[in-house]
Symmetry: C2
Subunit: 222 residues, 2 copies
Amino acid sequence: MEIALLGGTGDIGEGLALRWAYDTDHEIVIGSREADRAAGKAEEYEVELDSRGVDVDIAGESNADAAAGADVIVLAVPAYHLADTIEAVVDDLADDAILVTPAVGMKRDEAGFHYNRPGVGSVTELAAEAAPEGVPVVGAFHNLPAGRLANLDADLGIDTAIVGDDGDAVETVTTLAEDIDGLRAVDAGPLANAAEIEAITPLLINVAKNNEGMHDLGVRFQ
Amino acid sequence: MEIALLGGTGDIGEGLALRWAYDTDHEIVIGSREADRAAGKAEEYEVELDSRGVDVDIAGESNADAAAGADVIVLAVPAYHLADTIEAVVDDLADDAILVTPAVGMKRDEAGFHYNRPGVGSVTELAAEAAPEGVPVVGAFHNLPAGRLANLDADLGIDTAIVGDDGDAVETVTTLAEDIDGLRAVDAGPLANAAEIEAITPLLINVAKNNEGMHDLGVRFQ
């Protein structure tokens, strides 16, 4: 399977790229608004993987080129770039392409971080609104600890809650998620259930900030 | 320490009463709007505990009588009864009494359960607004699986995130939470951070509903 990670130079994108390249045989393509930056990061990831005995080619391209032909496109960009990133790639999508959104909107005040819920209900639903008709959108990977994800020596032992309205697309993303060692995918139902997942991310930051010895947290439903 | 469980005849109240009575030497008082009902439930709990070799007296009283003199008062009532429950007990509170709120507001549609966030920010902050000046309110026990909590054979292995603006009160409630075997308390900061904790409860229900073999879920930050 070909997976494009748009915004794949950022923290969650980096972690997903490294984990999939390390744990699976999926083809990984890094996308960025600047193709050069994507290519540079892709090379960094190759070097990191090579140091662990994994010889793999990772392409780095513009977001549009990375998305073109990919089976699954992960929109690892900030929430406020979600709509324009989708717009930039939409003309070149393969038939049956699946868009995946891990983005969360947050705001911060003196108490801590808070979920910044968009009017449409969630950032995941914002992506679904921006996507063309017939292109399934799946919400996943919202609550992953970026640092641990990108550190291949770190155990995960955490969950990702997945939402989507297209059963086949949810199944594909669920399989991709569980291809990552130590990550368990749980089905949280339709896209309309995304807000409560997204809200966990600011809570994880607040908990890390207020408890000694806890940092870079994920979540487990048990 | 004397702990009053108002609404202690309901599911979370029952679980907390049984766990504290089983795992600790704290004095447990069950409160209900009807004293008879509270007394009946308290007797049930005594029988359950006695069957496990724990001989303990649990009182059952009206909410106001149960709250009077208690060190910690857990408002284990539905969100829409929070304000009137506080109003009913406030005149009889001991100096230094601490109010604890585990209530969450939810609504349901065809997609699943959703967090019903009150205008004031969270149900926890709703309790804080209803409490008299100088009486500390702590948010805790929002995401506990009621069935497992009340089943003393069941292992917990889960967390409760605690919020509060009064450091001493938070510390007291944290200790009480960790007195329960298998429950870990994590500090999520001030009361203003409560919404993201409360929102987990509907998500846990959605995950349980959509995944075979998962039910009565709690959460772990790790």
